[in-house]
């Protein structure tokens, strides 16, 4: 286990625990506790639903958060491990969401000409609208699946390769990715594009022949999302233990040295950026049927910044942190907007500031430090 340097001045929590004599208690826990706890909790949710502790709205809500957390895992790989702060992850998420949304719309109610109602409704043609050519293939499940994976991958691969080849780094990369997502949002908001304009796509009813409005379908979608999240987290964790993962860390810590050692950072950076985009796209595709709508506003600058906030809060460079951060911030946000509709920005803002000041490694990073500190104490004793 890596030794973590401790700066007692920084960690009020550590001092409090030491002061209360709880240091020994910590030894009962494992540094992997957050990961195991989160996985266990996710798998236990359907049980809580079955015994009536949770209602369908809450299961559905958690299912959506699982889908969202996939984006956070991708960003953790790109930012936490590789050191590139991308501010367009929510865009890949939305692209995957649109691919799925187009499929769902094609399965849903249509007007007399076979055009999904959500786009015929917003068109400004007085005589109605014919189904645009690019909508046709989305009637097929296989094409949709390919599109969910390929569209974000192609956009990320192309953009990433161009950007990394030009050696766009640091804040420039952040700003340029932000410009990209805002440009795409503006484009998707255009009614001319026949993607539903700012209203986006809605009126979803069926997926793979099942009515997604039923309770069983919602539970099934929860299972798929939760398992996809756990699977993606395990995959990402495995990836970081491989040679590829170590190269990513090398890119983060010293790209120049890596280049001198004969590696091509461009390839690795593009690869991890594309992988993160695919994860985000899958997340979007799982999110949309559970939410019932996909709109261009998901590609605004703010949702992508929120992804960064989740990862930072959970602890960057720890895959668990991304998941915990995404689930936790979304839960807090949901609870506060319901129970403190007027004051939630104060609380959420204060949480962000305090995490940065008092918990710079995020929740999971802090936890690991605490455990390391407790174990070191034990070793000394």
């Amino acid at each position: 286990m890596a030794e973590y340097p401790i700066d007692p001045r920084q960690f009020a929590l550590t001092r409090a625990i030491a002061g209360l004599g709880w240091r020994g208690t910590l030894l009962g826990f494992d540094r992997r506790a957050p990961a195991i706890g989160a996985a266990f909790l996710l798998l236990a949710i359907p049980v809580f639903y079955a015994v009536g502790l949770l209602d369908l709205a809450q299961v559905n809500q958690l299912g959506r958060y699982c889908a969202i957390a996939l984006v956070a895992i991708g960003l953790d790989l790109v930012w936490g491990y590789t050191g590139m702060l991308s501010l367009c992850q929510a865009m890949f998420f939305t692209l995957g969401g649109y691919a799925m949304g187009m499929h769902l719309a094609m399965q849903g109610p249509k007007d007399g000409k076979g055009v999904p109602t959500s786009i015929s409704y917003v068109s400004s043609e007085v005589d109605g609208l014919a189904l645009p050519w690019f909508w046709q293939p989305f009637a097929h499940e296989w094409f949709t699946l390919v599109a969910v994976l390929a569209v974000p991958a192609i956009v990320a691969g192309l953009f990433g390769w161009l950007a990394f080849r030009s050696r766009i780094k640091g804040v420039y990369f952040s700003i340029i990715t932000q410009a990209l997502t805002v440009a795409l949002m503006t484009l998707f908001s255009l009614n001319l594009l026949k993607l539903g304009g700012t209203n986006g796509l809605t009126n979803f009813t069926h997926l793979l022949g099942c009515d997604i409005r039923t309770g069983e379908a919602k539970l099934a979608l929860y299972w798929v999302s939760a398992l996809a999240l756990i699977g993606a987290a395990l995959f990402a964790w495995w990836l970081t233990t491989t040679r590829f993962g170590r190269i990513l860390v090398a890119v983060r810590d010293s790209e120049a040295r890596l280049r001198f050692a004969g590696y091509q950072p461009v390839i690795f950076k593009t690869a991890v950026f594309t992988l993160a985009a695919v994860l985000a796209g899958i997340g979007g595709a799982l999110y949309v049927p559970q939410t019932g709508i996909v709109t261009p506003s998901d590609m605004a600058a703010v949702p992508s910044i929120m992804v960064v906030v989740w990862v930072a809060l959970g602890g960057r460079g720890t895959i668990t942190g991304a998941v915990v951060g995404a689930l936790l911030v979304n839960l807090i946000y949901a609870l506060l907007t319901t129970h403190m509709p007027k004051f939630w920005p104060f609380i959420l803002g204060a949480v962000f500031v305090s995490v940065v000041l008092f918990m710079p490694d995020g929740i999971v990073g802090q936890w690991r430090k605490l455990i390391a500190w407790a174990q070191r104490g034990k070793a000394r004793a």
């Binding site: 706890g37 909790l41 959506r64 007085v126 209203n199 939410t291 019932g292 609870l335 509709p341 939630w344």
Partner: protein, 408 residues
């Protein structure tokens, strides 16, 4: 031993999720779903205030069917997926009997499947583009034939022959202009005399567009029919005045500028421009004065009332009247009782349509005055019947059947 931590986590999370307070037997919950933060807060907070005021008033007079009402106010934060999430939460977790909310078209579209899936009721207080009829929504504001068409007709009668259809690029302006274009063409206005322009949300720079309008307005006979939304109105009207255009040469007929929006604008240069609504604060009746003074004493002297505020306010009373008529809180019974129900609103007597979920309303056209109020310059004779689907877009009838409704 990681089990211990896991259990601890489980317990806290569940406690937080189930933490919604359990309601007492003698209260009935109503959801209020308006954005209190984010870009739409500027418009929606007033609607939330009006809804809450109506609920408080009803409680002060003894509630409905012997039960007190409890408003569950949540903040969907101008975030469209969050609207759907909050709607689910209100219906399934809080078990509200009806929900009052939404402003933008996209937020309504976002929650619509939720209300239809669960057969719940939404009261929607904002004029909108029509082309929709869900049995799970009561539309207490105007449909296009109660706002757009009378306004265009009024401008035609004033002798205007050149029309600039200017809007923000989203569904309300697009559909509104579709209706307006069909109407103007039917009245013999050639395509060459109609300009259609759209700007993105939050657009701030109207230099180019105002210059274009100015060219068109040379020689007179031009007017603007504006469906510009939200805060883009401020820079648009400022640029319009500063480039030397006045309401005398080229009036702007606005469909989204009410007394509440005028508070955020510099009014003197706007005097004489027009707006079409179904309610104005300046309606001179004692009921309206009582409504205004109640609203102002509750929320502050500087607050104003406006069309969506009135609609948000009487929506609660429509629900109450229907519940009392049905003698039940059951959604299907309340819906059946709502059809054709007559009620008193601050702006005068109104009536729900017998079939199509919308409201019979009077139409007013007002001219902006120096004090930010409207002088009513035209009003319809009596109430205008609402269309769910515009007859200008469905000339042969045959529009879609209503969606949603009782669970099969």
């Amino acid at each position: 031993m990681s089990l211990k931590s896991t259990l601890l986590g489980v317990v806290t999370t569940v406690a937080a999720l189930v933490g919604a307070p359990l309601s007492a037997e003698d209260t009935v919950k109503l959801g209020v779903l308006h954005s209190l933060t984010g870009t739409m807060a500027i418009s929606e907070i007033s609607c939330k205030d009006a809804t809450v005021m109506a609920i408080d008033e009803i409680n002060a007079k003894g509630g409905v069917l012997g039960k007190k009402l409890e408003a569950v106010v949540v903040d969907p934060a101008s975030n469209w997926p969050l609207f759907a999430e909050k709607a689910k939460e209100l219906i399934l977790t809080h078990k509200v009997k009806a929900t009052f909310g939404c402003w933008t078209s996209v937020s309504r579209k976002s929650v619509l499947p939720v209300f239809e899936e669960n057969n719940a009721l939404l009261y929607y207080p904002v004029q909108y583009e029509g082309e929709e009829q869900s049995l799970n929504v009561f539309y207490t504001a105007a449909s296009p034939n109660q706002q757009l068409v009378p306004a265009a007709e009024y401008m035609l009668e004033q002798g205007y022959k050149k029309f600039v259809l200017l809007g923000t690029d989203y569904v309300f302006p697009r559909t509104a202009n579709k209706v307006l274009k069909a109407f103007l063409k039917a009245k013999g206005i050639p395509d060459s005399a109609i300009i259609e322009e759209y700007t993105p949300f939050g657009h701030k720079d109207y230099q180019t567009i105002v210059a274009k309008i100015k060219t068109l307005a040379q020689g007179g006979g031009a007017c603007v029919l504006s469906t510009i939304n939200g805060d883009s109105n401020v820079p648009f009207y400022k640029e319009f005045a500063n480039q030397g255009l006045t309401s005398g040469e080229c009036p702007i007929m606005a469909f989204s500028v009410s007394e509440d929006e005028l508070r955020a604008m510099e009014v003197p240069p706007l005097v004489g421009h027009l707006a079409a609504w179904n309610y104005f604060m300046s309606i001179d009746t004692s009921e309206n004065k009582a409504f205004i003074s109640a609203f102002q004493s509750k929320y502050g002297k500087d607050r104003v009332t406006a069309d969506p505020i009135e609609a948000a306010y009487y929506g609660v009373y429509v629900w109450k009247a229907a519940v009392e008529k049905a003698g039940s809180f059951d959604v299907d019974k309340v819906r059946a009782a709502t059809y054709g129900i007559e009620f008193d609103a601050p702006g005068g007597k109104k009536k729900m349509d017998e079939k199509n979920q919308h409201t019979y309303k009077p139409v007013y056209i007002g001219e902006i005055k120096k004090d930010g109020q409207f002088k009513i310059v035209w009003q319809s004779k009596g109430l205008v019947k609402p269309d769910s689907y515009s007859a200008y877009l469905w000339p042969n009838g045959g529009f879609p059947a209503p969606t949603g409704g009782p669970k099969k």
